[in-house]
């Protein structure tokens, strides 16, 4: 049988290697490296963090410390679509909590959870700066504004 090494190469790992070699030797790169690693894998697994630690010569505890300090970093796999519901001040006074309730009820998940089919993850965020359109949710970065609980179902249907 001929060698099939090439097929065994994980494309995500190739990408991570490229990121690591681009940043290697530069100072203060841990946050952007973690951001790009998360972009590739969707979350930061222990293996990925260990690899970053080894390559950048930063203590594993430090990598883990930074990864857990910032709310952007996720240590477990997320759903295909990420719903961020804003409960900042403007959304709070304009009824964001009702929209959250509608989403929770529709998807049967709470803040920080993922639906059992892996389709959606739900996160509460403090402000995404679209206050003029409060209350808002952001799904995969698309902002949906002036929401009323009744519109939630229809919006979610667009994300298969």
């Amino acid at each position: 049988m001929s060698c099939s090494c090439l097929e065994l190469v994980d494309p995500k790992e190739v990408k991570l290697d490229a990121v690591l070699s681009a940043y290697q030797g530069k100072k203060g790169v841990l946050v952007p490296v973690l951001q790009e690693a998360q972009e590739i894998y969707g979350y930061l697994s222990q293996e990925v963090m260990e690899k970053i630690s080894r390559t950048l010569r930063i203590l594993p505890a430090e990598v883990y410390g930074v990864a857990t300090f910032y709310s952007q970093f996720r240590l477990k796999p997320m759903g295909k679509h990420i719903i961020q519901i804003c409960l900042g001040t403007a959304c709070h006074v304009r009824g964001g909590a009702k929209v959250l309730e509608a989403i929770e009820e529709k998807l049967r998940i709470k803040d920080g959870e993922t639906t059992s089919d892996g389709r959606f993850s739900l996160e509460i965020v403090a402000c995404i700066g679209a206050c003029g359109l409060a209350p808002v949710v952001s799904i995969d970065g698309d902002v949906h504004g002036r929401l009323i609980p009744e519109r939630v179902g229809q919006i979610l249907e667009n994300y298969v």
């Binding site: 100072k27 203060g28 790169v29 841990l30 946050v31 952007p32 973690l34 951001q35 930063i58 430090e62 410390g65 930074v66 300090f69 910032y70 709310s71 952007q72 970093f73 900042g88 001040t89 403007a90 709070h92 006074v93 304009r94 309730e101 965020v125 403090a126 402000c127 995404i128 700066g129 679209a130 206050c131 003029g132 359109l133 409060a134 808002v136 970065g141 698309d142 902002v143 949906h144 504004g145 002036r146």
Partner: protein, 604 residues
């Protein structure tokens, strides 16, 4: 505007800020381009996607240049009619014009709307009028002329002197004089110095910086270049929160274009001055808006503040002298250099010069970004520019300064807005979020909201902030649950003083402000919760009760169908009633009832 009417190609400026994008601006742009081509008008009209027009409530908005006709809440279906009427028949479409919420009058041009008339746009002057991804547009509106003035006509010391004379103070909230800050950093001797733009706009309810970064990124870069030249720095960072992807995209493009045009890099404009600029995306930690935490974050560490002194001007990023200013501050600088400190000082009050951008949100008719001279009253901002309270409700409070600020009552509406006046009443300019609240907002709930925010965002370094805010949250939560006691108010005030006095950074020092201000101005509401078992605004669920007014009830049964817990009974023959034991107080029945027969009251 300078354009001569009829000779210039006409423009349609489409707001493509985050707000309007979410209401369909992108499809409008496509549709406009298709329609212009279909009607053979490509020679006469161009479509320009711009940054935020500021008028978020009315989005998506279109402005036609040069006449400045404003169309609001435009839909895809309107496009062919717009092109036909506007460019073939020279007619306005009445229904798309902005209607004043108070007078009902229609206004034709953006400049004549009540929203715009009282504004003084300096920092926002390009926002919404240029394509932020096109450096030519910025140059056509005197872009980089401030830098040219600095490099060609002034020594670094003269640049700092000019900024000092302008009276510009830090727009990030604390209001420290910008020129003075620069001079500290200039005076420190070092082989390397950094300048940083703090674009980690984390205050909930604030999006001024987002507007500027998305709509006019070059103005921030130009300001940083001028500052770096004054201070003697050759490297800078823009630390922008990751929640603002469009801002980061526009900044990246702007930096690339500025490098190609020779405004960034080596020997800028032949002056011998070098400057390299990098972007760092934040990773979602509110405390990183604090300057020492922000620098730790750029260094790749956990973003935790450290004690000052040494101040960043002595020891900052990687222990080198560093100067940090916020987006709006940097963006004000090019105008000051180009038009002179003297010109800038005509705006504002004696101690607070120039203009400030506020993000006007909440229960106000015209939400959006407004830039006003310092010293304007809150009443003018909320009622003249903001068009008053939504749905003709009654004004209760305005929250200013985010989690570090406070809620101000009606009696303070005529307060002139500047750094000193706001601090004297227990609030602060902060970054500039103004969240308007009406009679249906509960002030105890709002105090709880802010303390909850601060206790979650506390980095945990100082015990009083980490533990104290948590305890304050628990007390406030208890009060909103109907389990408050009179001595809780004293406990809150005592805790607040300790947290303020013994926290290291601005987050902890200011976190109790929203509670203290609410206790000062809205103590009655706290007392109602504690003594009368009542939430006057009808917000806190624990106090709510519902009943059906049988005189208004038409026995349609809609409430019964919609009640998620089957708490409502009744039929054509027996009067409808709600079983309060079963009721979960969700309020769906109130929303569904077409005859206002379900009555919600804030008292159990």
């Amino acid at each position: 505007m300078k354009q001569e009417k009829g000779k210039e190609k006409r423009k349609i400026l489409v707001c493509a800020g985050t707000g309007c994008l979410s209401t369909g601006a992108l499809s409008l742009i496509q549709e406009l381009n298709q329609e212009i081509e279909a009607q053979g008008l490509t020679e006469q009209v161009t479509v320009v996607p711009t940054g935020c027009h500021g008028f978020c409530e009315q989005g998506p908005t279109l402005i036609f240049e040069p006449e400045q006709t404003l169309y609001v809440q435009v839909k895809k279906q309107d496009i062919s009619e717009i092109i036909d009427k506007e460019f073939k028949q020279d007619l306005r479409i009445e229904r798309l014009l902005y209607q004043d919420p108070l007078t009902g009058k229609k206004t034709e041009t953006f400049a004549n709307t009540n929203f715009f008339v009282k504004q003084e746009r300096i920092v926002l002057q390009n926002c919404g009028f240029i394509d932020p991804e096109n450096i030519e547009d910025y140059l056509a509106r005197d872009g980089y002329k401030g830098l040219m003035t600095a490099l060609k006509q002034k020594s670094p010391d003269e640049v700092i002197e000019e900024v000092k004379k302008s009276g510009l103070r830090g727009r990030g909230g604390a209001g420290f004089p910008t020129g003075l800050k620069w001079s500290f950093c200039r005076q420190t001797h070092a082989d390397k110095k950094y300048v940083i733009c703090n674009a980690d706009e984390g205050d909930p309810g604030a999006f001024m910086d987002r507007g500027v970064l998305e709509g006019d990124p070059h103005s921030v870069i130009e300001g940083m270049l001028i500052g770096a030249y004054g201070i003697g720095s050759d490297e800078g960072y823009i630390y922008c929160r990751a929640e603002y992807p469009l801002a980061i995209k526009h900044l990246k493009k702007a930096i690339k274009d500025a490098e190609e045009a020779g405004f960034l890099g080596e020997n800028i404009l032949g002056s011998g001055f070098n400057f390299k600029l990098y972007i760092r995306a934040g990773a979602g930690a509110f405390v990183c808006g604090e300057e020492t935490a922000l620098m730790a974050s750029i260094e790749g560490k956990r973003g935790m503040p450290r004690a000052r002194p040494p101040f960043p001007a002595q020891k900052g990023l990687w222990d080198k002298p560093t100067n940090i200013n916020n987006v709006e501050t940097w963006s004000s600088v090019p105008h000051i250099l180009r038009r002179g400190a003297q010109w800038y000082t005509q705006y504002g009050t004696e101690k607070s010069k120039g203009t400030k951008i506020f993000a006007l949100t909440g229960k106000v008719n015209n939400t959006g970004l407004v830039e006003v001279p310092m010293g304007i009253t809150l009443r003018e901002i909320i009622f003249d520019i903001g068009g008053g309270i939504q749905d003709n409700k009654k004004y209760k409070a305005v929250q200013i300064g985010g989690p570090s600020g406070g809620c101000l009552p009606e009696s303070l509406l005529d307060l002139a807005v500047d750094y000193e006046s706001l601090t004297s009443v227990g609030a602060m300019v902060g970054s500039g979020g103004l969240v308007v609240m009406d009679e249906t907002t509960c002030m105890v709930d709002i105090a709880r909201f802010f303390v909850n925010f601060s206790q979650k965002e506390s980095c945990g370094k100082c015990t009083p902030c980490r533990e104290g805010n948590k305890r304050m949250f628990e007390i406030l939560d208890r009060i909103t649950q109907g389990k408050g006691q009179l001595e809780d108010l004293e406990k809150l005030e005592k805790l607040a003083r300790v947290i303020k006095d013994s926290s290291l950074c601005g987050l902890g020092q200011n976190a109790p402000n929203p509670v203290l201000a609410s206790l000062k101005y809205f103590r009655d509401e706290f007392l109602s919760h504690i003594l009368d078992n009542q939430c006057p605004a009808g917000v806190c669920t624990a106090f709510l009760s519902y009943h059906i007014d049988n005189e208004l009830c038409k026995k349609c049964g809609l409430c019964v169908k919609n009640c998620p817990v089957n708490a409502i009974s009744g039929d054509k023959h027996t009067p409808y009633s709600i079983d309060l034991e079963t009721c979960i107080k969700c309020g769906i029945c109130v929303e569904k009832c077409k005859f206002a027969a379900v009555v919600r009251s804030g008292k159990e």
